[in-house]
């Protein structure tokens, strides 16, 4: 009984600490004249490998940085919400040219993605 209570306590403690075991950061840097931000629910297209067929202009450099401890890895999908948030803030319609970087410090797995925010011009 005591054992199971201790296990529950440990599980609750671990769950409570999990957010502190990972961090997500991001930023955008306008490339030229800053654009007005888009609404928080605005749709953002994501082009992982190809470029859009519509004409566009590059409006911002976008960065998303994720770190997780306990050897847990992050993926492109994990970083996408932060990247899209930054794209909307930069006034971008879409994200192109994502470049991923992975590294590790001890038990911390680091994932960084740099992309370009674009605006359609048609």
């Amino acid at each position: 009984m005591v054992g199971s209570r201790t296990a529950w306590l440990a599980a609750v403690l671990c769950l409570g600490l999990l957010p502190a075991c990972s961090t997500t950061q991001g930023r955008f840097v306008p490339l030229g004249e800053p654009r007005p931000p888009r609404t928080a629910d605005a749709h953002v297209d994501v082009y992982r490998d190809a470029l859009p067929t519509r004409p566009f202009e590059r409006v911002a450099r976008l960065d998303a940085h994720l770190e997780k401890t306990a050897f847990r890895k992050s993926s492109f999908e994990d970083a996408l919400p932060e990247l899209m948030r930054r794209a909307r803030a930069a006034g971008a319609d879409a994200i192109i040219e994502p470049k991923e970087q992975r590294s590790q410090v001890g038990e911390t797995m680091i994932y960084h993605i740099t992309a370009t925010g674009i605006r359609y011009t048609d």
């Binding site: 961090t23 930023r27 960065d63 940085h65 770190e67 401890t69 001890g106 038990e107 960084h112």
Partner: protein
């Protein structure tokens, strides 16, 4: 028992001395300086890009100086983060800059911290290569 206390005291003194010597070394450490063939404003932007890629939340970004801490994380073993990374840029004229990068480790979570000097230089060079001079 008396000997045990003496040994414990001795161990504590050694740990304190080791900590003090590390702190003294950190004070004397001035980072790594390199010369980069780019203008100061280009290097300034590249430095901000580099620190972002390394997970730094930039707190100071003024002409000639960029600085910020890496976010701190608790881990199953030692965690990581908390180091303060800085880049000092001095314009040397003729399109050259002297760049000094420095990692300052903090007392809390020191075991999970690392020196980011070389990665900072690498990322600055990468950013400069990606944004050619106009």
């Amino acid at each position: 028992m008396f000997m045990n206390r003496r040994s414990l005291f001795g161990a504590l003194v050694m740990v304190a001395a080791l900590g003090a010597s590390q702190a003294a070394l950190a004070e004397k450490y001035e980072g790594v300086t390199v010369t980069i063939a780019a203008t100061a404003d280009r290097v300034q932007k590249a430095a901000a890009d580099a620190l972002t890629v390394l997970g730094v939340e930039i707190k100071k970004n003024e002409p000639g100086y960029v600085e910020g801490p890496r976010s701190r994380k608790f881990g199953a073993f030692v965690g990581s983060g908390g180091e303060v990374l800085s880049v000092k840029i001095t314009d040397k004229g003729s399109g050259n800059c002297e760049v000094t990068v420095r990692t300052t480790k903090t007392f809390m979570g020191r075991a999970g911290q690392k020196v980011w000097d070389q990665p900072m230089i690498d990322e600055i060079n990468k950013s400069l290569a990606a944004t050619p001079a106009q």
